[in-house]
Structures are given as structure tokens and as C-alpha cells.
């Protein structure tokens, strides 16, 4: 009576199911918001708030040939010095806040021009210049200085805020949308009997699962592009290191890992409320404990131990290694293995608790 090809056309079925999944995703405004905009909002907020804390050196203008300043290696180390020949222009720039101070030398005296608008920065610059003069005075006496200035900012040792936040919040964003997406879809499909209806259609599990994996990975890639795109804006100033693109395999493996958590939650939970609650209960503490939001360097030993068993920790540190710490591609191998192993374990558990029906 019909000319269908029940076994063939798996690809066409995959394409059609993927299209349905994609339309279902982009048409749901809440998922779009929580999956894409909400985490990005955090990036913009944190990136903005902690922008200046992140160890940028005070920007100063050196007016003319201020020899004390240009001779001092110490000064160059702790100040970002730009030369300017036009004093009026330099003062105007300081007044506008483009620079933190302008420094001029008259005879043996260094004059610091600053704006009262940013007293903290002005004080910092004055302090630095003061000590530079001290050191140079000491040198002028011809004696080996007993004490020297070495100004070290902690942030320079590690990485600045935006560098840290971009992979961290991205990992969190991926974990949220992959987990919630899988859990809620599974519960809804079971409740509405879509699962059973699919079982009655001549389609194998592969195109169905592949389409869900596809959409989840697609969302993760869009999140990655958005995060990197926003981070790279001059305002935030993200600097990617050589092998940043090695983050992509991690992003894909990470979305698989969190999808598998969602599958366990969705297999077990009977209602969408329960599924969301479980997903939240798992993801939120994990985000804190994995160092997605802030470094755990100062956390107690046991917390750091807990942290190492969390998949998000490996996703985030793996991404940080290649995106901002300049590690070589081999840095992703271990995180990748851990994430995929975790996926296998969770998928196995999901297959054990999976139910076609609520009752």
C-alpha cells in the first residue's frame, strides 16, 4: 500500500529530526535566554567589574625627556609608559581619564600630574614614582643599593580576570544547557508519549540520539563562539594563546558529558520540575567547586580534592590551559579522556534507569 523505505534513509531521518530539534530550541525563548544570554551576562558583568583589578599597570604619560624615568628599569616594569611631547595635550588626556597620570621632569624634580577623579590610581602612581626616586637617589650616591624595588602583582603570575572568566563561565554555560536540554527533553517526550510514538515509527535509535547530540553540540559551539567573540572585544581584552582552538574538542566532549548527566536526571525524574531541580542541584554546586566562577587556589585541601572528581573542573581547566595559559595541544588529552569516560559511565547508568513510561 505504500512505498516507504523503512530501513534506508537514516541520514534523511537524522536531518529531519535535527531540524525539528533546532526549531524546537530556537523557538523557546527561556532556553535561549538561559542557554546563551544568561551566562554571557555573567561574563559581561564579571569582565566589566573586575576589569581593572586584573593587574593592568598604571598608564602614565611621560612628557618630554624625563631622564630619571626613562633610565629606571624598575619604573618601566611597574608603569605603562607612553611618551608624549605635547604637555597640554598630555594634561588633557589625564583630565579625561585616558591616562592615570602624566610625569614631567624639571631639573632634578619629577612632577606628577594627576586627576583627583581617581584618587586610588593617583596615589599608586605617586607611591611608585616616590620609590623610583628613592632608588635612583641611592644609585646616584654610587653605592650598591641595599634594598631594591620589585613590584610583583599576583595577577601577573596567574591570569587576569577576563582570561580566567571566559573559559570558566563558558564551561558553566555548556554544562547548564546540555544537562537541562537532555533532562527536560527526555521527561517531556516520555510524558507526552513521544518516546512511544517514535518507537512505533520505523526509525532506529541512532538517528534520534544523533540528532539530540547534534543539537546539544551545536548549542555548545554557538556558546563558545559568543563567549570568545565577546571576550575579544577591546573593552574586555581577552587574549587567546596559540592553541586556543584545541578548546573545541573539549567543548564537544564536555557537551556529551553533561548531556549524559541530563539523561540520568531525565530518566529518573517523573516531572519537569523534578528534572530541573536535579539538574540545578548537580550543576550549581559543581560550578562553584570546579572553579568556573573563581579560582580554588585558596580553598581547603579537601575541597580541591572534591574538585578533581568533577567533570566541569576538567572541562574548565582544559579550556583554560589551551585558551589562555598557552599550554600545548597535549594538555587536552587527559581532560578529554576523563570527560569521555564520564560520558560512558553516565550513559550506562541512564540506560539502567531509563523508562518508556511514567508508571
Amino acid at each position: 500500500m505504500n512505498q516507504t523505505t523503512p530501513t534506508g534513509g537514516a541520514w534523511a531521518k537524522f536531518v529531519s529530526l535535527s531540524r525539528a530539534a533546532m526549531l524546537g530550541f530556537v523557538r523557546e525563548k527561556t532556553a535561549l535566554f538561559f542557554g546563551l544570554l544568561f551566562p554571557l551576562m555573567f561574563l559581561v558583568l564579571f569582565g566589566g567589574i573586575f576589569k581593572d583589578v586584573g593587574g593592568s599597570k598604571p598608564d602614565v604619560l611621560q612628557i618630554g625627556n624625563a631622564s630619571i624615568l626613562s633610565q629606571s628599569a624598575d619604573a618601566r616594569e611597574v608603569l605603562d609608559i607612553t611618551k608624549s611631547s605635547d604637555k597640554a595635550d598630555a594634561l588633557e588626556k589625564v583630565r579625561k581619564g585616558d591616562y592615570d597620570a602624566a610625569i614631567e621632569q624639571r631639573g632634578d624634580t619629577l612632577i606628577v600630574h594627576y586627576s583627583a577623579a581617581d584618587a586610588v590610581k593617583a596615589n599608586t602612581v605617586q607611591g611608585i614614582v616616590q620609590s623610583v626616586i628613592g632608588i635612583e637617589n641611592q644609585k646616584a650616591t654610587g653605592q650598591e643599593p641595599k634594598y631594591s624595588l620589585s613590584s610583583e602583582k599576583v595577577e601577573d603570575e596567574s591570569i587576569s580576570t577576563i582570561q580566567y572568566m571566559t573559559p570558566g563561565l563558558l564551561g558553566w554555560a555548556i554544562s547548564m544547557s546540555a544537562t537541562f536540554g537532555a533532562a527536560l527533553t527526555l521527561v517531556t517526550w516520555r510524558q507526552k508519549k513521544t518516546l512511544r510514538r517514535l518507537r512505533l515509527a520505523p526509525v532506529g535509535a541512532t538517528p534520534i540520539i544523533a540528532s539530540r547530540v547534534g543539537i546539544t553540540m551545536g548549542i555548545a559551539l554557538v556558546q563558545t563562539a559568543l563567549f570568545i567573540g565577546v571576550g575579544l572585544l577591546p573593552y574586555f581584552g581577552l587574549t587567546l594563546t596559540d592553541y586556543w582552538w584545541m578548546a573545541f574538542p573539549l567543548v564537544l566532549a564536555g557537551s556529551l558529558a553533561f548531556m549524559s548527566i541530563g539523561l540520568v536526571a531525565g530518566s529518573w525524574a517523573k516531572s519537569q520540575e523534578t528534572a530541573s531541580a536535579i539538574a540545578n542541584l548537580v550543576i550549581l554546586p559543581m560550578a562553584f567547586l570546579s572553579g568556573s566562577f573563581f579560582p580554588l587556589d585558596n580553598a581547603p585541601e579537601w575541597l580541591q580534592t572534591v574538585s578533581t572528581i568533577l567533570p566541569l573542573t576538567h572541562l574548565v581547566t582544559g579550556m583554560q590551559d589551551v585558551m589562555v595559559r598557552g599550554e600545548r595541544p597535549s594538555a587536552i588529552v587527559l581532560p578529554l579522556v576523563i570527560l569521555l569516560g564520564f560520558t560512558a559511565l553516565m550513559t550506562f547508568i541512564a540506560s539502567r534507569v531509563f523508562r518508556w513510561d511514567d508508571v
Binding site: 500500500m1 523503512p6 529531519s16 525539528a20 524546537g24 508519549k193 512511544r196
Partner: protein
Amino acid sequence: MTSTITVHKLHKSYGSVRAVDDVSFEVAEGEFFGILGPNGAGKTTTLELIEGLREPDKGTIHTLGLTPWPRNKALLPRIGVQLQATSFFERLTAREQLQTWGSLYGTSKGRADEMLELVGLADKAGTRTEDLSGGQAQRLSLACSLIHDPELVFLDEPTAALDPQARRNLWDLLRTINKQGRTVILTTHYMDEAELLCDRVAIMDHGKILANDAPATLVRNLDARVHISLPHGTLPENLELPGIENTTDDGLTVTLTTAEPAPVLTILAEHHALAGIGVKGATLEDVFLELTGREYRA
């Protein structure tokens, strides 16, 4: 006639609940077969066993000559199923819904619009399924189950929760589907629906099939009762009516139940008490009452 479905001594229990208890029946090719019964009778379970969604505890099933369990891929393209719930993909329009389900059966894209036309939803093609009314969603769900032109169609309470007008429209559609040569199996709570649509009806209760025949035959075989109803207060006082088995009076209508209506009607006519009279023959409801000793409550 060949047998499209053969069910023999079927059993299915959930824990201590015997959802399907020793059920046997056959459905012939092209037949419109109904399973009628109250909530929890075991209708859905019976259908799911025949479709291959559940494994029987005992008994044999042949659907289109094939064994449905375990999942039989040769059977799936030949059957169309409308489950008791409207199972759609989230946030797709009516047309997209049909295209997606159709693609799983390898049907052409144009088929979606044909189906929309058939179920009278052409003007709703671009509407999201969440925004359809209950009746429209039911019709779309029916269209999804017919998209691949199956030879055997299972409909689990397709008219539940529809208003009378929508039900009648759907009935027309179901008749059309059956007339096109498809075998249709339908479950329902509604006696009138089963009587109107089905060539044959199985009356089910507590997992057992109590009777299985053409509705007219079921009613005829019953020692048929006729209900005569009169407006309250029009029945003359102290009137002796022969053969009345039961009289009820709800304050508006007096209903007399009898096996022999003719003498009763003659006497009423003689007393000029025929104004507003109603005479109703036995229905499947009486059959159910007779079989179970209970009033039928859908």
C-alpha cells in the same frame, strides 16, 4: 476474508492488576472494530500489545501476519497509531510536525499538505501545535498517524474531550478512512460512538472481553428493553400499564422500562397521553448493564 489481527488467549498484568485477562478476538481486513469499556478496562493495554509496544505475559498475537513483539521493523511502516495522548515534537507548526513524522516513514514533503487538507487543517498549517485547540490537535495527531498511508490504523480514544460538533466531524473523517480500505481499530468510552462507527464491538471490562459482535446484534440478542419517557405530570393518575419493569421519575421526566412497548403505547394513546412522549430502544448501555450488572459510567 483474511484476518488482519488475531489475538489468542492474551494476558498482561501489572503487579496484581490484570490489565488484560485471557482476551481472544480477530479483526478482519477492512473492518472497523471497536473496543468499548470504562476507565481502566484494559483497552489501551490491549492496543499496545497488538502494536508491539508491550510484551504479553502469555498468549499469541498476529498483526498483519507478523509477531509485533519484540519491535518488528517489518510491521511498523504498515501500521498507523494514534496514542491516547497527542504526542508531538515541541514547538513545531502543524505542517512541520507532519513533515517530521512523515520523514521517519520516508514520505514526500508534499504529503504533509495533503494530510492537512484531509483533516481540515489547511488554514492551520503554520500554527504551532501548542496553540491548536483540543479538537484540532486530535485531528493533527490523526493525520500524523495516517501520513504513511498505513493499511491498519489504531486509534486510542480519538474523540475524547471533544465537543459534540467536533466529534461528529471526526466521525465522518474516520468513516472516510475506513471506506478507503483501511482496517481501523478504535477504543472508546462512548456507547453511541461505538454503535455508530463500528462494524463490530468488543465490550471490555476488568481486562476481559464480555461480548464481541455487531452492535445491532448485541442489542438484538439482549432481551431488549424499551424506554418510554413522558413529561412529568402527564401520566394519568391510577393508570394500569401492563409489563412495566421499572419506573423512574426525576421530577422532569418519567421513564418507563418495558420489554413489550406496544400495549403500553396503546393504552397511553387511548388516554391522550402521547404529548411529548419519547420512545428509545435498547442501546449498548443496556447491553453493558446486562453483562456486568452495573450501570455504564464512562
